[in-house]
Structures are given as structure tokens and as C-alpha cells.
Symmetry: C2
Subunit: 348 residues, 2 copies
């Protein structure tokens, strides 16, 4: 059965509905994982080794290796920071740094333990030459440039702004009403080329979902170099969108960061008494710098594929055996883009 869907409110791009016939029956349907597992190989996009960052942590207490793999964000987003991070990795700058901050339901942060750390015990490590200085305007990309990003498109009738009126000093002689246009919350979101974005018709920007990696910074207008990085380990802190640069996401070994002991110091930094809890970072390498046989191989499910649309719909309307009431929609951060490691089969 083929069907086309006409949503009354196009702005609700993620309010993905089942056809009426499916809503009314109680039949069990494939779950999101079943749909993804059945995707044909041509729907999977190999991530180039230049876009993979391999971070090797010191082994855990039991001697198990801990490797974290980060996928860097593609152009036109955050490229100044991404280039800085590649430079820092090539210069081996990250080697010997550590995970210094673990704040529950918020972020894990790594880099120089003496950079902007309330528990610093020494001088910051010098940065290599050639790092770009980025501006806050780079947190998002102009709409026109972003729409040139293959596969990104915006519904023409999406609602980006609303009129809001404020009455000051109500019921007094000084009562005054002022109206202004404000961005709608939440902003419309969409997937393009394997990533989730939010938009306001002027700009598009990546969103702070679980596992996203961003650039630690000091107070504005410092936007950070990329030497200090963090990943989200809790509910999506969307208030950070357009306030910090997002440069990628953890696609492998997330549990090595999310399960670290929480820091007891300010902002979740490890306090002076618990410096031994800092996890040493042995090395950070761009995968293309590694010998071919050591490179991790990852691919993501094309967000432009029909299978992805079906997967997103199934995330929004769970109908697998466990579920009773489909939600009728899903937060963009509850539709993680499927990413998987694969082995090089050779000869292809």
C-alpha cells in the first residue's frame, strides 16, 4: 500500500503520522531497529577517514582498551573549528591531555586540565601556531548557503516567527503595549546528509543532541579554538545551540565517556582531591593518518533514503510489540541517525 501524507501544519515536520488504517488496527509493526537492519547496502554512506577522529583513552581499571570515535561535521558548518581540530590532532597536541569534567545530565569535557579549570594546578599547555580564530557568527550558517548543502530544504509554509505582545505597567497610567516578532520555539528541524539541523528561515545550525561534540570556550566573544572539547551526556541542552560551536558527534565508544565518575568540583570538574579520576588521553588521531589496517570504518544511514523516513516515522509512532500508545511525533534528538561500524570486506 502506497500512501502520501498531507500534514495540516507543515511546521510540524517531525509529527509523523501513520495512515488512518494503521492507526485504527492494533497489529504489531516493525520497530525502528528492524527497519534499519533491513536497509539495503546502497542506503549506507561511508564516512571518509578524514572525518573520523580516533581518541584513545588510557585502559580502564580492568585493563580494557577504551577507544572513542568522533565524526567531524561536514561543510559548510563549523569548518574553522574542524580545521583547527585536525591541526591539533596532526600536531599531537591532544596527546597527554585528559578528561577533566563530567557533569551529570550535561557534558563530559576533555582537553588541557589547566585551561579555564577552577581546579587548575599549573599553566595552560601552549597551543600550536596556525589556529584560526573564529567568530560567533559561525555558530550558524546563512539560510541560502545552508540550502546549497545537498538535500537540505525548508517547507515554504513553515512557521519560523510569531508575533508577541508585551504589556508593561498593566493597569497603570504608564500601561504600554509593545509587539515584536520572535522566533518560534522549538525552531523547525530537519535532517540533511546525516545530520540534524534547526532553522529560522535566515539561518540553519546543528543541534545539541546526546553525543554531539562541541568546542569548549570561555566567556563570549571567545569562541574557543577546538583544543577544549565536550560531548553531551544527558537531555539535549538546546539552550547551547547557537551559543557554542558544534563540530561533530561521538559515533563509537560513547559509553567510555558517559559512564565516567561525575566530578565533585564546580561545574562537574574533578576537584583538587580527585585529580586521579581524570582519564588520561593517550592519543587523538585523524583516521586518515592511521595505517589503513588500523582505521575504524563507519557508515551512516542516508537521511535522504526512504528507509530513513520509515525509521523516523517508526521512532515517532512506536508500533512494535511492547507499545500501546504511539506518541504521534518525536523530538529531533530522539531520532538519532543510525551509524554503524563495519569491517573492510576487501575487493569492492
Amino acid at each position: 500500500m502506497r500512501h502520501a501524507l498531507l500534514a495540516a501544519a507543515a511546521a510540524l515536520a517531525l509529527a509523523l503520522a501513520l495512515p488512518a488504517s494503521a492507526q485504527q488496527d492494533t497489529e504489531t509493526r516493525p520497530g525502528p531497529a528492524d527497519i534499519v537492519n533491513a536497509a539495503p547496502q546502497e542506503d549506507w554512506v561511508v564516512i571518509p577517514p578524514e572525518d573520523l577522529l580516533v581518541m584513545t583513552l588510557a585502559p580502564d581499571a580492568e585493563g580494557n582498551a577504551r577507544e572513542v570515535v568522533i565524526q567531524l561535521m561536514p561543510p559548510p558548518f563549523s569548518q574553522g573549528w574542524v580545521e583547527n581540530i585536525r591541526l591539533l590532532a596532526r600536531e599531537r597536541w591532544y596527546d597527554g591531555t585528559s578528561v577533566n569534567r563530567v557533569q551529570d545530565n550535561y557534558v563530559v569535557q576533555w582537553g588541557d586540565p589547566n585551561y579555564d579549570n577552577p581546579e587548575a594546578a599549573g599553566k595552560p599547555k601552549p597551543l600550536p601556531e596556525g589556529l584560526k580564530v573564529m567568530g560567533e557568527e559561525e555558530y550558524s550558517q546563512p539560510y541560502l548557503k545552508a540550502t546549497a548543502f545537498p538535500a537540505m530544504s525548508f517547507a515554504e509554509d513553515a512557521e519560523f516567527f510569531r508575533t508577541l505582545c508585551v504589556v508593561e505597567n498593566p493597569g497603570t497610567p504608564a500601561e504600554e503595549e509593545t509587539c515584536f516578532e520572535e522566533e518560534v520555539w522549538p525552531p523547525p528541524t530537519q535532517f540533511a546528509r546525516g545530520w540534524a539541523f534547526a532553522t529560522n528561515s535566515r539561518d540553519a545550525w546543528p543541534v545539541h543532541c546526546y553525543g554531539m561534540v562541541g568546542v569548549g570556550r570561555n566567556y563570549s566573544p571567545d569562541t574557543g579554538s577546538g583544543a577544549e572539547l565536550y560531548t553531551v551526556i544527558g537531555h539535549a541542552p538546546r539552550h547551547l545551540d547557537r551559543n557554542i560551536a558544534l563540530i561533530g558527534r561521538v559515533i563509537g565508544g560513547m559509553e567510555h565517556l558517559s559512564s565516567l565518575p561525575r566530578g565533585k568540583g564546580e561545574l562537574g570538574f574533578y576537584s583538587a582531591e580527585e585529580r586521579d579520576k581524570r582519564t588520561p588521553i593517550l592519543s587523538v588521531r585523524i583516521a586518515s593518518e592511521l595505517p589503513e589496517e588500523e582505521r575504524p570504518l563507519y557508515e551512516y544511514l542516508s537521511t535522504e533514503s526512504d528507509i530513513f523516513a520509515r525509521y523516523a516515522e517508526a521512532r515517532a509512532n512506536r508500533r512494535d510489540a511492547f507499545f500501546i500508545t504511539p506518541a504521534g511525533g518525536a523530538d529531533i534528538c530522539n531520532i538519532p541517525v543510525p551509524v554503524r561500524a563495519f569491517e573492510y570486506a576487501g575487493g569492492e
Copy 2:
């Protein structure tokens, strides 16, 4: 300066805007924590000891004590399961059980390691007599009953449903359009008596935010007894709303659950090879059962207070020194109700 706010779209209850004058200036304003810290004592509501569940885990590898405190949900929500949990605690049923499942960006689950566990190695522990059997209809409460819940009210013009039309077999002789009403996504949300709820004008139900505690169950129509519990350790899995009973939230010691090693078995259960990773639960007690000097004391910021409204507004529009672009709104799960432990001062 007093101001009243008239939002164009009342359904966007959490799109909390600053007055125009504040939007236009660049002055730094108090952050959410500053606002909460300045709340007067009368805005804090003491949690009754009958509503506090104290779960003592085995000490960690370094010998540190691990205590988790759960606040149980007040009537009229989920009370059958809450009563079961109080019974199980009084009967000492949880003592000697363990944390058996830790799935990254999803849940930590504890209870009988042999209940519905793909890695079970023995028979399930018998349950005490007198447990209630609950139905799926108890996952939410009827609107009229819920509005009788003090302080809960719904905007009359909120949008709960939308019309959706589906075209089947488009462009063929069998083309047919069917229209139906569907709940809007996300459903309108609000705070009442210290908790977050979603609504659809017929029903109200608690939402799966970080740290919320729910009742593990098998396939529907089994709704679980309360012997098997879980808490959310990642992005809010809102697709579980109205599909599982929520009975409370972790208000103390969350880090003892969220930082546990992730399980390598199916669904994040510890596999047969890693049974030693299960964290033993030494005891679970209702605080009112403990000697008075051992009872933990907690209070939450009244969600009906002006300070809470200011806190929620500040979460939605960060203006403290670090921030540049206020979001203009916040997901309900990004406005955690402030809860704090306090010491009994005596004599009051």
C-alpha cells in the same frame, strides 16, 4: 518593572519570552541557579517522608557509600504502583536485588536479576501477597480528575488536536483521501505541584524526563508490579509516555546510577560474562520507616511560585554572562524542578 505577557499562541506554553526591552539590551541577567538560590524559604515545599524511597547500593570499589533517593509521585497519578512499591519496601523485597541493566542514553534498571532478563541464571524471586494489578488506563488520568489536582489548569485555547489527511494510492483510480483528528506533537505540557505533565484535553500524564523512575514490565497488557524499576539516563524517551507507568524521580545520588558501566548484553543487560558488574542493592526503605535522625530531608521549589516562573523563563532565555542567543523556549525536560536536600535545623 512589572510586565504581563500575552503570547500569540497559547499552546506554546513553554515559549517564554523576555519583555522587548530585555531582548534588545545586552545586559547580563541572573542565571537560573541565581534565581533559585534567591528564592525565599516559603517557596520551598518539604517532601513528606512517606514519599521518599531510600535505596542503599553496595559501596563502590573505593568503599564509598552509595545512596539513591527517589521521590514517589503524588495522587492521582500511578498510585496503584506507588502503593505496591511501598509494600515491596516494607516487606524488604528489594533487599538483595541488584542493578541489572544499564543501556547508554536510555535507562538503568534494577530489581530481580532473574525477572524477564535475557541473561537470567535462576528462578524469579517470589513476590509478596497483596500487590495490586494495574491496568494500562492508569498510565494517565482523566482530564477532569487531573484538573482537580491542585494548581493544574489548561489554557482554554491550547491546541490539542489537528486534522490530518492521508491520500492512499495517489494518482491511481483507487485514489482516496481520508481525514482524521490526531493529537498534536508535542502535547502541551505544564508544571503542577512540583511535577511536569503532558495533556491532550482528555487526559494528563507525567513525562519521561531525565531521572524519572518508571515500572519495568513485560509485553502489554502486563503493566508491571513495581518490583522492577528503571530510571532515565539519557535524552527524554518521550515515546514511553503513556506506555509505562512513571512513579517518581531520582532526587539524590543520581550519579550512582548514571555512571554505572553499560551492559554488553541485549538491551544493555549485563551479559552472563559480566554478572560481577551488577550493583547489589543492600536495602530500599521508605524514609518514614527509618529512625528520624536517619531520614533524608528534601524540599522542592513550588512550581506555583513566582520564582519558579522566573526560573523557567531564565532556562528558556539564558542571559547569564556565558550566553549570546537566548533560545526563546525550552523543552519541558530542560526545566528540571529544583529539588534540594536540607538539614533539620530543629526547633522550627
